[in-house]
Amino acid sequence: MSNMNLTLKIWRQAGPQDKGQLVTYRVTDISPDMSFLEMLDVLNEELNAKGEEPIAFDSDCREGICGMCGLMISGHAHGPEKTTTCQLHMRSFKDGETITVEPWRAEAFPIVRDLVVDRGAFDRIIQSGGFISANTGAAPDAHAAPVPKDKADRAFMAAECIGCGACVAACPNASGMLFMGAKITHLGELPQGQPERDARVVSMVNQHDHEGFGGCTNIGECSTACPKGIPQDVISQLNKDLRTAMKNGR
């Protein structure tokens, strides 16, 4: 595959209160082996050389696990492949293509600058109950409570969530329920997670709604966009746990 020339329409916004707009840039001689973010690095070096301020975007580990990066690429969260933006490579695009690049779009994720958003709402949902209360030093031996393998595997599957927010960005309702359902399922499958199970789901749902995320209407864009393939049934689990908690008088 030979190198490419591309047209980029990128969202620029100076600050949270400023008006933003799509700005058109052209990049040339882009190697198909570059990652999408490396392509943006190249553009930023060119902008800097011309005296224009580089485009702000988030990334850290660049190996698909920290969850810091995340862009809407031509309308798809993390772009055309099922992966994180940092693991998307330019070989997924064609020479001459026009690519639109926007930040995550959701009321609960306000824009900080350009392509950077504030995902603090996710931290606050975890603060409200996304944990098992086990103070340091108070733990019994690790083998004290065996976990059946099917439950351990399902807990692990749900625990793979990287908190990137693609589910919210992809959802027409900007719902955070896949993120929340993943945590509810992870902790709810384990014996250690049982004592707080009812309280956890009620607190987390309250915080989720308070942050301005929408409700789930079973569209499934979240799971499709999720780079870790968290299945939609974690939302069913969330609803089931919520119903049980309500029945138990929470």
Partner: protein, 682 residues
């Protein structure tokens, strides 16, 4: 901490040899580890450490910089204990810290397999693996608390791999002979970090921890002089608003990770940096063994000049993959499947018949470099030669079947395919070593206190446990040991005794620190030169990789020091940082980090230059056996090199003035419980 006797020892000849590159100061030694049998020391220290009454804890404040395994665990634990904690990270959430990227596993002396493991054996393996350059007391304690870590993590809901009976599974890792590694597929770091993160967020919700995300520590506040000086807080920049903030506290903990990004290309995250440690170093904290770098053999090779970082693949791949290069240079650009068996050089199997492809990381890395330097590397030409060797699974697929290989390594093969666009089931993978971890870091005593009282250092940011080479699955163990179990027990001794402070935002020490940050920020924006921050960083990385990477020599290191000084000088004249100080400005953030790397790089080279022996990850060309293996010199170099910062002299003052000749303080390594041996893998 430092004793008063001045050294008149052997190092002075080397000192004069390098023409005033450094000077030698008083020897130091750890004064916190109690005497007596090694297995009783930690219990004794915990008993002797003073207590803080629960009612007094909420009046005491601790700042923790970094939210990885060490920082996150420490913040959660101190919050649970009732202290007032302020937790800082530069990322948008504590959960992004780079501990998250660790794949393989975490060691613990649980002996669940009944295969002969014990605290004693984990202690021994770690000291040997570190090539006898770590402190016995610290390593023993690490092995001792390792079992508690697993209990703690399971209680938090960390989903470790389990067997069908519901009990935890273990695997053997990194060439050790017992199965003591706990894991969660290839995402162990992620699961452990999320466990610590959730414990931390619980304390944020409970109000004991205040969380400052997108905040970067840019200066430590040190009050007082000499023996009475104490760390009393930090200056941080709010990366969103640009506000320069003062945060005062009774103690400061740096858990800010390693500095592998001084090489520009590494497996570290883009934001990983040395700034917190380096600012503390400039204020008097000693930097220990900065040249000890771990270069991991199984990373995906560089594909071109655009490369921004390197990706590691778990070294478990070496269990079944065979490493080779063509015997003849003419074959290097051929399709590897067309190269006949007799024209292949399985060089690790040839040189090390006993260990073959499973030799330790440092050896596998150096041999890959050697064959590529000979012109027998494969893959694209980067710079002026091919930087890659084959890791071939054809035999394993023949022997085990494709399904079995997929079951074991499927996620790694997928990752490789996604990054390179090649199918590793059909054509051999290409791998090349990459900088992965640094064993060096700020000097700490047994209590994890730096040489500035009140400034503690935990996790990869300190130097304490891995000696000159870290074993696989030991970084996660050390981070969590420091954060959950060591620091919370030792810092209370300090907090119980620290005099109350009348320091305010207007005190001279605070004003001076804040002004220094403001001046530096203004300078970056005012230079308005021709070159981007990244271009300087990339050039520094090339110098470090070439001369202070897998093989170091006196000639190369002297050249590197010259080049770094020149580059640093140009940086402060010619860097271009656009934008403003009062908004999110990622170029400005990077400029500060690269400015510090430009000083650290020089110190790493000086450290590498003075250590005229090969040990662990530090290979000196002048110190090898007849067959080209590393040769240690225990008679001369069985010590920790702790470096003290010296400000530049004469006319060079103020922002960007660089550094004077550092002062070397030696801490002798005394081996009471383990006998020193030369490593051999032949």
């Amino acid at each position: 901490m430092t004793d008063k006797t001045t050294d008149s020892g052997s190092g002075s000849t080397a000192a004069s040899m390098f023409n005033g590159m450094y000077t030698e100061g008083a020897r130091i030694h750890d004064q916190k580890a109690p005497d007596g049998p090694i297995e009783k020391k930690w219990t004794r220290r915990k008993f002797e450490a003073a207590l803080v009454n629960p009612a007094n804890r909420r009046k005491m404040s601790v700042i923790i910089v970094g939210t990885g395994l060490a920082g996150g665990a420490a913040a959660a634990t101190l919050g649970e204990a009732g202290y007032h904690v302020k937790s800082f990270c530069f990322q948008d959430s504590p959960r992004r810290a780079h501990s998250i990227a660790a794949q393989g596993g975490i060691n613990a002396a649980k002996n669940y397999k009944e295969d002969g493991d014990s605290i004693q054996r984990l202690f021994y393996d770690t000291v040997k693996g570190g090539d006898y350059r770590s402190r016995e007391d610290n390593v023993y304690r690490l092995a001792e608390v390792s079992a508690n870590i697993i209990d703690q993590c399971v209680a938090q809901g960390v989903p470790f791999a389990r067997e069908y009976g519901g009990l935890l599974d273990n695997r053997s890792f990194g060439g050790v002979q017992v199965s003591r590694t706990f894991y969660a597929r290839g995402q162990t770091g992620q699961q452990l970090l999320i466990g610590a993160y959730q414990a931390l967020e619980r304390q944020v919700g409970a109000g004991t921890v205040e969380q400052f995300t997108r905040h970067e520590m840019l200066e430590v506040i040190v009050d007082g002089e000499g023996e009475d000086r104490r760390a009393r807080g930090i200056i941080a920049r709010d990366l969103v608003t640009g506000e320069i903030q003062t945060h005062l506290a009774d103690a400061v903990v740096l858990a800010s990770g390693g500095y592998g990004n001084v090489f520009f290309l590494s497996t570290n995250a883009m934001g990983s940096n040395v700034t917190a440690s380096w600012r503390a170093h400039r204020k008097g904290a000693y930097m220990a063994n900065p040249c000890y770098t771990q270069i991991h053999p199984t990373c995906i090779p560089v594909s071109g000049e655009h490369q921004s970082k390197l990706t590691l693949m778990s070294e478990s791949l070496r269990n079944d993959g065979r490493i080779w290069v063509p015997k003849n240079r003419e074959d290097c650009d051929k399709d590897p499947r067309q190269i006949k068996e007799e024209d292949r050089d399985y060089y690790l199997e040839r040189i090390y018949p006993a260990f073959g492809n499973l030799v330790p990381r440092d050896i596998a890395s150096r041999q890959a470099k050697n064959v590529c330097d000979e012109g027998r590397g494969v893959g694209p030409v980067v710079g002026d030669f091919r930087r890659g060797v084959y890791l071939d699974f054809a035999d394993a697929i023949k022997r085990l079947g494709r399904a079995a290989v997929e079951e074991k390594y499927g996620n790694l093969f997928d990752m490789y395919a996604r990054i390179t666009g090649e199918n590793p089931y059909e054509t051999p993978m290409r791998i090349y070593p990459a900088v992965h971890y640094v064993m060096g870091g700020l000097w700490v005593d047994y209590d994890l206190s730096s040489s500035i009282p009140g400034l503690f250092v935990a996790g990869e940011a300190n130097f304490s446990d891995h000696g000159a080479n870290r074993l696989g699955a030991s970084a996660l163990m050390q981070g969590l040991a420091d954060g959950y179990f060591v620091l919370p027990n030792t810092i209370r001794d300090y907090l119980a005794k620290v005099p109350t402070s009348d320091l305010t935002e207007d005190s001279p020490a605070v004003v001076e620190a804040r002004q220094a940050v403001a001046e530096r920020t203004e300078r970056f924006l005012a230079i308005n030169g021709d070159r981007s921050v990244d271009s300087f960083h990339r050039e520094l990385g090339n110098i470090m990789w070439e001369y202070c990477g897998m093989e170091r020599s006196e000639e190369g290191l002297l050249k590197a020091i010259d080049l770094i000084r020149g580059l640093r000088d140009e940086f402060w004249r010619n860097v271009r940082v656009l934008g403003a100080a009062d908004t999110l400005n990622q170029s400005l953030e990077k400029a500060g980090r690269v400015a510090d790397f430009l000083e650290l790089g020089e110190l790493m080279c000086i450290d590498a230059l003075h250590r005229r022996e090969s040990c662990g990850g530090h290979f000196r060309a002048e110190s090898q056996t007849e067959d080209g293996e590393a040769l240690r010199h225990d008679d001369e170099f069985a010590y920790v090199a702790a470096w003290e910062f010296t400000p530049p002299s004469g006319e060079q003052e103020g922002v960007g003035a660089g550094m004077g000749a550092p002062v070397l303080h030696k801490e002798d390594l005394v081996y009471e419980f383990i006998e020193l041996k030369q490593r051999s893998y032949k």
